[in-house]
Symmetry: C2
Subunit: 206 residues, 2 copies
């Protein structure tokens, strides 16, 4: 791609370093910004720099926060003995959206993935193990995505805290509410039968 302007070229190159945005899309975004008032570009770049500079991580659960301790960890009404282990802030947002969870979180910041060069030391695993060993945790819920990397991470953590006297659980896998059985994959359907729950319990949770 040859550009008639170095300024455009530089902006396109920077934008196209973001995941999922190629040079063509980047050029489309740049041309869009050129048609908008200059303020929009200023606000965008200010918001990005402020976010990247001033962002804090909760020193308790490592979730992204504007304070040293996030709102969830600071909330005395939440059950601080029930810890849900998730990958990143998006999972926290998704689980909070259900309104079903009243415990706290532990945000790992990723999954163990040798292919992407992510080892246990790059994740917030040791602080979770410490938390468990200090006796402040009654139950750990593993809520990572059920991929090879997620399972590996679960198992790595499990091995480190297996000798502690706490409950360990994982979120239920099964057929999604509203899905048709015939289109479900065999592994999921198989698990949903193996891990079936009492009918009366299922009525109550509706």
């Amino acid at each position: 791609m040859e550009f008639s302007s170095k300024l455009i070229e530089k902006a396109v190159n920077e934008i196209s370093q973001l995941p999922g945005i190629g040079k063509r899309s980047a050029l489309r975004l740049v041309l869009h910004l050129l048609k908008q008032p200059k303020e929009q570009t200023d606000f965008l770049s200010q918001a990005l720099v402020a976010m990247r500079t001033d962002i804090k991580y909760c020193k308790n659960c490592h979730n992204i926060s504007d304070h040293d301790v996030c709102e969830i960890c600071a909330n005395p009404k939440r059950n601080h003995e029930l810890v849900c282990v998730v990958e990143d802030i998006r999972d926290v947002m998704a689980i909070e959206g259900t309104g079903q969870f009243r415990g706290v979180y532990h945000v790992l910041g990723g999954k163990i993935s040798p292919i992407e060069g992510v080892g246990p030391s790059q994740l917030k695993i040791s602080s979770l193990v410490e938390k468990v060993k200090s006796g402040l945790v009654a139950e750990v819920i593993f809520a990572l995505s059920s991929t090879m990397e997620g399972d590996t991470t679960n198992f790595y953590i499990y091995k480190q805290i297996a000798d502690s006297n706490i409950i360990m659980s994982t979120i239920a896998r099964g057929i999604a509410v509203g899905d048709e059985l015939e289109y479900a994959d065999e592994v999921t359907l198989g698990r949903s039968i193996l891990h079936r729950i009492p009918f009366e319990k299922s009525i109550k949770s509706n």
Copy 2:
């Protein structure tokens, strides 16, 4: 979507104002930037602000440029009597990429589109008409996309310069090189038959 951080929320809101990027994608981009060195965010926002602040438009053809006159208009080897009318810089880049055009461009900055609130006065039409009437142009090639808006814009310009004694042409519509006839739409196939060209001419252009 509820965010645990106002900084994240603001960044996501600004990014998701860009076309084709929703809140979820915006959050993905923000989390990506957080994992990268701080410099990447700085470079990105600096490139955006510099682009938006310092960008110039060629005073001759209105193409985006770093100088008052773009490289194409400043090139004495180009045929300045042959003017190709296009929508925006992307079309200039596409035509330049073919290496087949040695004239100059006139960049309208869009198409007449009542639905999007774009009228002739928002486009660089009057300067094109002036250019034609000053007698400096021998041929105008209309190279807008063949949509309702493109055809409207072509016709609007055509009416304004119809009484001047210049050649007016449009780029050829037809079956793309490498495409199979049976999958072509009827309008395109019909036009390619109506506007057929001498076989010997087609051999030479290969």
